[in-house]
């Protein structure tokens, strides 16, 4: 029997490849993900190990919020360094002055992310080199006007040795001459950041204050316990002004973070691998069902000559196992490629994964094999049992007769129960507004999907018949023949379409969720009335001087530039943010609607406008007097970096008006003159400035705005679309990545369609021959196959879109709990696109089977020669 099974595997190589492809892609995904996880983890660990190599203790200065120009010093100075050096067991102390420096590239755009733009001091030894920052060109900075950059930052920015580098730290633009480039192992820099180096005195002036440092890296002598050393050093430090951490603890913290982030990444990739395998299982089950119905006579003969039912089952399963094994090995090889490709793919979506060698653990190979074989054998299980039911007498029957169609009643009942339970669950979930329904939502979605897959054969009849009517009108002969062929075996049609349905359910569901979130943000922006074209802000509020708004409004094409300054205040009872702004122009950048009073009234000094919500909470009315307490600290203002309030602690203002809630001025606002005496620090003058362009001048204004502020790299100019994207989170990015990954499931589904069509053409050889004999042209034969393929694909797509849309509608209520702006909406153009893709996929999947069908000659295929 084993020999029979093996012969069967190798008898039809093309079919073998097609079936195997479904498993190959699934296992490739699994092993690729595993290998990628190991590789990324290893690369991270290498980077972090390098980063803390030789650091036994790290002493860090605890700095408060420091404003530019503050003449301050940290507690870490040379004297303390010497004291630590004198401790037994300490081999070296390296003091450094570090902070952030945002570098502008040659085009005046800031480079890197905020927290990845590092600045530090270059500390040369006697040979003029700094072991922490090995030079790649030039020399280290040695004077106040010199700077060195990380090699990649210099290259990306377009800077060469001798150029003047523009950068900013906490205020105005600075320029220094580039004298060298260096390498670094700091993970923040190696994963896409920048590094600027200064000589020690300059770095101290910029960061930690003259004569003091921001951190000490302490090296220990061999055999010294770094935890114990840390405790001893900690005792020497001035309380609250500095803290010490052991190198092993730092490395552990970093390692934990790495493991967590790579694990969550691997986990979400595994979900896609699971989907791919699930879809693949459908294809395998379908293929084996078709194989067995083709081989009925052969199986009957085996039974007639004495093979037992069990032997028939076993032979089929052995065939599946061999197929699964071969496919898994091929899948593993392909998985290596997947693992290599994932890093650039993920990096392109903003993940900064470090470089490293490919790590192939034997376990990855083992998992791929086991999963591939198990999935294949399980998928072949039901078809194999069906094979065993073939009666020996069928071998003797004269005429090839297709087995009678089993009734779909049982299936209908099961499907209705599953689907009904799922739909009911989802309706229940739809009534939930908090995330507590998430488990019910998952279970309901799975039930709905399972129900749809079980019911698909029943649904295929009305849907395909309906589609067929239109097709028969367009293509009288081939259209009708294709429709009848698609209806001939509803189970086969449905199983093939189900693979596509699953992929499209997920894609549609996610698209609808994403669309609804974006729709919500759009409506929210409309409601909350941010009508400005640009928002100008800066890192930490630095870089926008008092005159910034004036300079921006002088730019040609700008209608208004409205500064916003928010300070933390007590409005009556609890904390809130009070915004000082250009009251007369505020209406140009924000859709302000007053329910009582007017903006004009607020222009006067010591009058205030409060939002409806604030007024409602405290029972305020226009004309009332309101006592405002300036907190003098950062509490209250949400999402804004507050200025430090000085001057009189309390003030009493007249309420000049109450306005409908507005995102731009969430709680209350006053004129700039009113708030001026409470915000003294010049650098904190503005948190942000909203810019409204003159009609038709909005596009391309960003660069002009930036240069009006001296092209300071700290300045950020965001247009409407960026602001919108910020509010809808990274849904767009996630969606795009998901499309890519679910594309895999789609490819597997297409393989299934090709497989089914090829089998159908093979089974219908005689019919096609007869059709050719009585005058069906090759072209029409091909069209017949193509139309059947298109019908299967569009049927799967329609099911998937309906199910996906329903799940997104019901599950969307869960999203609403954490994303209140969410508003359900159907992205019709996208849905139309999906249908179009299904159509194209149908045409493409039919290319090869249709060509085969077209090549059949009437005489040969009717078996008359």
């Amino acid at each position: 029997m084993l020999r029979t099974a093996l012969r069967n595997v190798f008898a039809h190589k093309a079919r073998l490849v097609m079936t195997a492809l479904a498993i190959i892609l699934g296992t490739a995904f699994v092993s690729g993900t595993l290998i990628f996880g190991d590789t990324a983890g290893n690369a991270y660990r290498n980077v972090s190990a390098k980063n803390y190599r030789g650091v036994a203790v790290l002493v860090t200065a605890n700095e408060g919020i420091r404003a530019p120009g503050d003449q301050h010093r940290t507690a870490l100075d040379e004297r303390l360094a010497d004291k630590i050096r004198a401790l037994p067991g300490v081999a070296s102390v390296r003091p450094s002055a570090t902070g952030y420096a945002t570098i502008a590239d040659k085009k005046q755009r800031p480079m890197g992310e905020e927290w990845q733009s590092l600045g530090a001091d270059f500390t040369p030894g006697k040979d003029g080199k700094d072991s922490r920052y090995p030079l790649t060109s030039g020399r280290g900075p040695a004077a106040a006007d010199e700077i060195a950059l990380s090699t990649k930052a210099a290259a990306d920015g377009g800077y060469r040795l001798g150029d003047r580098v523009r950068f900013a730290i906490d205020g105005p633009v600075l320029t220094k001459k580039l004298v060298g480039t260096v390498d670094t192992t700091d993970p923040r820099v190696t994963s896409g950041g920048t590094l600027a180096l200064f000589d020690t005195a300059t770095a101290q002036r910029l960061y930690s204050g003259a004569g003091s440092f921001s951190e000490f890296s302490v090296g220990a002598r061999p055999g010294v316990d770094d935890v114990e050393l840390t405790e001893r050093i900690q005792r020497m430090l001035p309380e609250e002004k500095a803290s010490a951490q052991s190198g092993s603890e730092l490395a552990r913290i970093q390692a934990d973070e790495i493991t967590m982030s790579t694990r969550s990444l691997t986990k979400s990739l595994m979900v896609f691998a699971g989907i791919a395998l699930f879809v693949g299982a459908f294809i395998v089950a379908n293929t084996f069902t078709m194989l067995i119905s083709q081989r009925r006579r052969e199986i009957a003969l085996l039974r007639a000559v004495g093979a037992s039912r069990r032997q028939v089952v076993r032979s089929t399963l052995v065939e599946a196992a061999v197929l699964g094994l071969l496919a898994s090995v091929a899948g593993f090889v392909l998985g290596l490629g997947v693992a290599l490709g994932l890093r650039p793919l993920l990096n392109s979506t903003g993940a900064h994964l470090p470089d490293g060698p490919l790590i192939v653990e034997p376990a990855s190979f083992g998992y791929a094999l086991v999963i591939g074989v198990v999935v294949t054998v399980l998928s072949a299980w039901l078809p194999a049992r069906r094979a065993a039911r073939v009666a020996p007498v069928e071998a003797l029957s004269e005429i090839d007769q297709a087995p009678a169609q089993r009734s779909l009643v049982v299936r209908g009942v099961i499907g209705a129960v599953l689907g009904g339970a799922g739909v009911a669950t989802m309706f229940y979930v739809a009534t939930k507004t908090s995330s507590e329904g998430i488990n019910a939502g998952m279970a309901g979605s799975a039930l709905v999907l399972a129900g749809a897959a079980v019911l698909a054969p029943l649904l295929s009849r009305p849907l395909v018949t309906f589609a067929g009517k239109g097709l028969a009108r367009m293509f009288p002969a081939s259209g009708r023949l294709a429709t009848r062929n698609a209806l001939r075996n509803p189970r086969r049609t449905a199983a093939t379409a189900s693979a596509l349905m699953i992929g499209l359910t997920l894609i549609t569901g996610l698209t609808v969720l994403g669309h609804s979130a974006t729709l919500g943000v759009d409506k929210m922006m409309e409601r909350q009335g941010l009508t400005a074209d640009y928002q100008v802000s800066s890192e930490g509020g630095w870089g926008l001087g008092k005159d910034a708004a004036g300079r921006l409004s002088a730019v040609p094409g700008v209608a208004a530039a409205v500064p916003l300054r928010t300070v933390g205040v007590d409005l009556g009872s609890d904390a809130g943010g009070l915004t000082g702004t250009d009251v007369s122009n505020l209406g140009k950048v924000a859709g302000l609607r007053f329910t009582s009073g007017s903006a004009e009234a607020v222009r006067a000094k010591n009058t205030i406008a409060v939002s409806e919500k604030t007024a409602g909470e405290r029972g305020l009315r226009t004309g009332q007097r309101l006592k405002v307490t300036y907190n003098g600290d950062e509490s209250g203002a949400e999402d804004e970096k507050p200025g430090r309030a000085k001057g009189p602690k309390t003030a009493t203002y007249t309420i000049g008006g109450i306005y409908t809630d507005n995102e731009v001025v969430p709680k209350a606002f006053v004129s700039l003159a009113t708030i001026a005496s409470h915000v003294n620090q010049p650098s904190l003058a503005n948190e942000r400035i909203l810019v409204k362009a003159e009609p038709g001048k909005a596009s391309g204004l960003a660069d002009k705005l930036r240069s009006a502020l001296g092209s300071n790299p700290l300045v950020k100019v965001k247009d409407q679309s960026v602001l919108r994207a910020e509010r809808s989170g990274s849904i767009g990015d996630i969606l795009n990545m998901t499309y890519g990954l679910l594309g895999m499931a789609l490819v597997i589904a297409v393989v299934g369609v090709v497989n089914t069509l090829a089998m159908s053409v093979f089974e219908r050889t005689r019919e096609i021959g007869m059709l050719r004999a009585i005058g069906l042209a090759r072209r029409d034969v091909k069209r017949m196959v193509r139309l059947e393929s298109v019908m299967i694909c569009v049927f799967g797509a329609v099911l998937g879109i309906v199910v996906g849309g329903f799940l997104a509608w019901s599950g969307g209520h869960l999203v609403k709990s954490s994303f209140p702006a969410y508003e359900f909406g159907l992205p019709w153009p996208r849905i139309g696109l999906f249908l179009l893709i299904a159509l194209v996929v149908g045409v493409l999947a039919a290319v090869w089977p249709a060509r085969r069908a077209g090549r059949l000659s009437p005489l040969e295929s009717m078996g008359v020669q």
Partner: protein
């Protein structure tokens, strides 16, 4: 069902070519068909010349391997010729490419095969009108009704092939061949899978369609009884026409066949 007059003699149908009773529907001239090359070379037809006259029922007989099926396939545009000429009406088949041959089969030729005549997914009437559907033509409803009634299929039109008996299936096939009013019908062992009663019934239909509809029928068979329904029997052996019989009886045909058999054995 009366076997005596399935078709009304005063036919309401167009009877083209009535003015030329000896017109030729199809003709083979020096028709040869060779398979393979060198040692495996087999001459299936060796310079066969034959005419099939309009409104005549011709049976082609011969032992297996005699080339009778090949002759039919070549004449019907299902197989290519090695040399010589095959014409249907005034169309030379050798000059046609695959697409033109397909169109010729669709428009001017009717087929009845031994088995697998019908598409299992289409019901009886859909199978009958299939060639017209393929050609994008509307069937002549009166003609269709007449044929269906004559074939005794009126009550079975919405049945799928699997719900019809073998005889009924073959009658549907004959109805399909007649429905498109082809110039010539080729039947390949049409009764091969039928019991003798159903076979006789089917042959009766074919026979009587010839004078009634002025239909030309060419039938390949190895059954002397089937051949006896024809107006004329052509005997093939080794790719050549060896004899011809007009107005045959089953016994006469059988005698001739026996003669060839013994000749073949003595060879």
């Amino acid at each position: 069902m009366s076997r005596s007059a399935p078709f009304p003699t005063s036919a309401p149908f167009p009877t083209s070519g009535a003015a030329a009773p000896v017109a030729v529907a199809a003709r083979a001239t020096e028709l040869s068909k060779v398979y393979g090359q060198g040692e495996t070379r087999v001459v299936a037809l060796d310079a066969v010349s034959v005419e099939f006259r309009r409104a005549e029922f011709t049976a082609i007989m011969g032992p297996s391997g005699s080339g009778k099926s090949t002759l039919m396939h070549c004449m019907a545009g299902l197989d290519s010729l090695s040399s010589g000429s095959a014409r249907i009406g005034d169309v030379e088949l050798a000059s046609l490419n695959d697409r033109e041959l397909t169109r010729l089969r669709r428009g001017r030729v009717g087929f009845v095969f031994q088995a697998f005549n019908l598409l299992p997914t289409l019901n009886a009437i859909e199978n009958i009108t299939l060639p017209m559907d393929i050609a994008g033509r509307r069937p002549d409803q009166a003609w269709l009704d007449q044929i269906v009634a004559t074939m005794g299929l009126s009550a079975r039109l919405t049945h799928r092939p699997s719900q019809l008996s073998g005889g009924q299936q073959q009658r549907v096939a004959v109805a399909r061949a007649l429905a498109s009013q082809p110039e010539i019908i080729f039947a390949d062992e049409p009764t091969g899978n039928l019991d003798s009663r159903s076979g006789a019934e089917l042959l009766g239909f074919l026979q009587e369609s010839v004078p009634a509809l002025r239909q030309t029928v060419v039938m390949v068979t190895h059954d002397p009884v089937a051949a006896s329904y024809a107006d004329r029997v052509i005997f093939l052996a080794d790719g050549r026409i060896v004899d011809e019989l007009r107005g045959p009886s089953a016994d006469a045909v059988l005698d001739r066949m026996k003669a060839f058999d013994s000749k073949g054995r003595t060879n």
